[in-house]
Point group: D2
Chain length 146, copies 4
């Protein structure tokens, strides 16, 4: 799957927003938010996306994570909330690409791309039409400047 | 240390309140919030208490957890926030007892008592006067009915 | 429930042993093993106890944690494994008390007492005879010296 | 950075091995090892790599994670240990690529590629010669078949 060059670097580009309170246990020995723990924030925003974008019926088709890529762009701190932006970057026949941005105090700390595969009975299957149109409604806004 | 029979069973009894967003990763295999993960919520509210109740100078005296007791009174769920109440239940010469209540949707899910010891150079020391008066200002309200 | 004065302070007193490898993510900002994370080690050893002490049939009666008490006696470090000892300290009509010791390099770092309640259909029930005799076989050794 | 097509799919290809015991708390609601928690296993094996491959002096140059990519190839289970393989896949001027394989019962469950950047005073710097030769000694074995 080709990964688009620049998913949203501003929170406003993402259709679905999730606020997460940080915990003292999210910090590592350097006093900033642990790199792996940031993965938990993306996971939480992904779960929130599912709840908002999909109705229950469509969740019957199981969606599996095939690949996760995290980019680290800045250091986060406790205390203070994290703002997550989540949206869809690309839709293929049986898989789609989710893009996420992680912000604290307006600063972009990281981005995540997730390759998700639609499966039925343990095998990849075409994305159902209804799910495809739901995903399309949750696209990340790309603001091209001429 | 004698542990008082009933610390606050209502959020309003606690001087310091902390809101924590739950995470999908806080759930266990039964679909409710994991018992041990609740310990992380108490830890987070305790850290918040320190920040609000103590000024930086007093944090030089190191406060150590000597004993933690969790009572489990109900099951919590994701998604949804947790409301924590934290306050002081008892003050002794070199130690004090912190009481905490964990609430979700107004229901008391658990309580925690923590025995905290004031130390200097690795040994227990008397609680400094200024810290003692700060702790006293953060007492849990006990509403005795005649 | 009366809590016995001294459960096992030596690993050899416990009938069931569990080895857990520590993780760099178990450390807190002070460079030692996080107090709350130690709770995960006790949880892991408790799960291991269930698997070794109970057969599948008896696990149908659901056992709930009613109260957990952790005592902190020393600081643990990463890297290096943790040795856990787990056994039964007391058996009542519908509840029992589990005792655990947490050791690193032969040093006792903490102890945990857990009040566990036997339930059926969401209500406390008498401990079945077969489970009672299984629990009795897993008692913590008390070495009284005259 | 070009990411090589196939880092080691066998544990024997990796110069440094790390054994990690899984925890009941590593499981998600589906009863298998949580995808994000697998990230903790890679982190642990990376820390173990640093300890084995670098001497203390070289750790003065701070190595930062710039990008992490996880591939999910199979489901892991508790209880049971995880075997991690860690090695170096590519060395550039100021960055290098670490490759890792995650195995359970001999089955490859996932792979991780980490782009690591060498920094001094908060800015990317050339990899020191001594570190470069250390990294070269920890290369992943590539078994090309004609």
């Amino acid at each position: 799957m080709r990964i688009p060059a620049s998913p949203g670097t501003h929170l406003s580009a993402y259709p679905i927003h999730t606020t997460i309170t940080t915990r003292v246990s999210d910090m590592d020995g350097y006093g900033h938010l642990n790199a792996i723990r940031l993965g938990q924030f993306y996971e939480e925003a992904r779960a929130n996306f599912y709840m908002q974008a999909f109705d229950k019926q469509q969740r019957d088709t199981r969606i599996l994570v095939a690949e996760l890529t995290f980019q680290y762009l800045g250091e986060g701190f406790w205390p203070g909330a994290i703002e997550m932006g989540t949206g869809i970057a690309q839709i293929n026949s049986s898989s789609f690409l989710m893009g996420q941005g992680l912000f604290q105090n307006g600063e972009l700390l990281g981005m995540c791309k997730t390759v998700l595969v639609c499966t039925r009975d343990g095998k990849a299957c075409p994305i159902p039409d209804e799910m495809r149109s739901m995903l399309a409604r949750q696209s990340i806004k790309t603001t091209e400047t001429a």
